[in-house]
Amino acid sequence: MVFRKIFYTTSAVLLTYGSAFAESKEVATPDYFGLFFVFILASFIGLGVITRVSRLLHTPLMSLTNAISAIAVVGSIILTGHDYPTYITILGGIALFASMTNIVSGFLITDRMLKMFKSKETKKS
């Protein structure tokens, strides 16, 4: 009972909040709930996929996910590339450099490590 009450109150608050936004908008409102939706689903997929990763490969896994999360490069490119004030461009440029370093070194070292994992059969052939 209590839960249902909490649920309705929160939904009501969120709805008013949302519509208040919609009315007062000059700014285009991003789809916040959509983003949360994606976040939750991606987290579950992540938990499912990662628990199945071979324990042998935890070190390469970490460098691989590191390279993947360097997808921040996308945000950095937008910040650096657009016609913004110079200080924004520079901040974006440093972020771009940092992400690019992670992408390059992350993928390369992961592959380098994975190449070393040889099974008995492949060794003989």
């Binding site: 991606a42 938990l47 042998l56 935890h58 460098s63 993947i68 997808i71 924004i88």
Partner: protein, 466 residues
């Protein structure tokens, strides 16, 4: 039209990222995972670059070229240095998140306060706090792992440490809340929050010792992922949210595995308890351990039919993995079954030992997890402990006063015979005496791991020629 193409590219890229992690389930398919990751990244970058509003190509190309210039050497580090490289890349990830958050805040502030909606502001605050604390925290961790001189290796603890750390974080959060309420009025607080987050990152890592590094690195991994998620919320970018969530959940799972392997709760690792230096030598009765010579050990090894090698961080320090490989070859040729027992927290990051042994070309089928090998231990003729200590200490099973009580261990003491290779009788990192060394069937082989195993190899190959 462009919108549809870009959105399709993002979906494709997301799917590829998930496949990339999926293929990591088996060493046979794992390399495919890397290619899927690279493909996903390329698609994502290109789909971002088609945006006609992007004009500063000079800055972009400069940053990308510099990224390659630094990234390529970073990928060529020796494998013993992989933990610090990983920590360093967490630092870069945190830095990127922090900087993007900072830039976005000032950009929106200059474009008009109405751009800084409550949602965006919350996301920005989360992003910069997580980003900057991951940045300095990971730098500190990398420094400790690299044994940089001016960073204390030993855990630094002082009274009220948790209180100070938590109040710093608390102040940063309160400042953040004020900024959320009124983004323009309190804009002077923004740099303050950055400084606090940077400081918090340093203070968080100072009390941590080497043995806790696997947990800490996993935790920083999770933070870096969450910072990327927050960045996705700030930029309204689903791809960032997805990739960040994948990274975050990976860090979370690895931290949980590490915690379980040390029998510590998450909060215990987060606050205090962290690598506490235990008052060494409790009840240091002068028990004596038996020693054995390389000749004797080699003879015994030849008689054995099942040998298990337990590597630890000492193996990495001594770079003994190639000698171990020679030993493995000789014994296998003589018909001895050789396996490697891997404790989840052996080394300085998750999976560290596996990578080092794979580098020495030991087939991965021979690398066995702790849980899978413990039941076989009574049938093992000889166990060789190479530079591992706490993970084979039987005190963890029965001595309630021991700081490592309850930690799952590899039951080296249950094997018929045990050789422990060690430099000296000094207690290991946690400063705990190891009962194993005084057990009846344990014999010590004193010396540098590489030299001792080299000597064993010499004896064995000499015997083979005779």
């Amino acid at each position: 039209m462009i919108y549809a193409i870009v959105q399709t590219a993002i979906i494709l890229s997301t799917a590829l990222f998930i496949f990339s992690l999926h293929w990591m389930k088996d060493p046979k398919t794992a390399r495919r995972g890397v290619f899927a990751g690279i493909a996903a990244m390329t698609v994502a970058i290109i789909s971002t670059m088609v945006d006609p509003k992007i004009i500063n190509w000079d800055y972009i190309s400069l940053a990308i070229v510099l990224g390659f210039v630094v990234g390529i050497p970073l990928s060529k580090v020796p494998l013993t240095a992989v933990p610090q490289r990983t920590a360093l890349s967490h630092a870069f990830g945190g830095l990127a998140a922090g900087l993007v958050g900072t830039a976005k805040y000032y950009l929106w502030l200059s474009e008009g306060v109405e751009q800084l909606t409550t949602f965006r502001m919350v996301a920005i605050i989360v992003e910069i706090i997580l980003g900057y604390l991951t940045f300095t925290g990971s730098l500190m961790a990398a420094g400790k792992l690299q044994e940089v001189k001016w960073i204390p290796q030993r855990p630094v603890t002082y009274k009220g440490q948790n209180f100070i750390n938590l109040s710093l974080l608390g102040i940063a959060i309160v400042g953040g809340l004020l900024l959320v309420i009124s983004p323009a009025e309190y804009s002077y607080l923004f740099p303050g929050i950055i400084v606090l987050a940077l400081l918090f990152g340093i203070l968080l890592i100072i009390p941590i010792g080497g043995a806790d590094m696997p947990t800490v690195i996993s935790l920083l991994n999770a933070y870096a992922g969450l910072a990327a998620v927050a960045m996705g919320f700030v930029l309204d970018n689903k791809l960032l949210v997805t990739a960040g969530a994948l990274d975050g959940s990976s860090g979370l799972i690895l931290s949980l595995i590490m915690c379980r392997a040390m029998n510590r709760s998450f909060t215990n690792v987060l606050f205090g308890g962290f690598g506490q230096v235990q008052a060494a030598a409790e009840g240091a009765e002068n028990r004596s351990a038996k020693t054995e010579t390389a000749e004797g050990a080699a003879e015994i090894l030849q008689q054995a039919s099942k040998v298990v090698i337990i590597p630890g961080y000492g193996m990495a320090v001594a770079q003994a993995q190639y000698r171990i490989r020679e030993l493995y070859d000789l014994l296998t040729k003589a018909g001895v079954e050789v396996q490697f027992a891997i404790h989840p927290v052996a080394g300085r990051m998750p999976g560290h030992m596996n990578v080092l042994l794979a580098e020495a070309k030991i087939p991965y089928e021979q690398l066995v997890e702790m849980d899978d090998i413990n039941s076989d231990m009574p049938q093992v003729d000889v166990v060789i402990v190479v530079g591992a200590n706490d993970v084979v200490n039987p005190a963890a099973r029965h001595d309630k006063s021991s700081p490592i009580y309850g930690m799952p261990i590899i039951d080296a003491d249950k094997a018929k015979m045990c050789f422990a290779i060690k430099r000296s009788m000094n207690p290991g990192f946690a400063g705990i005496e190891n009962e194993l060394y005084f057990a009846e069937h344990t014999f010590m082989l004193f010396g540098d791991a590489k030299a001792v195993i080299g000597e064993l190899v010499k004896q064995l190959s000499g015997a083979a020629e005779k």
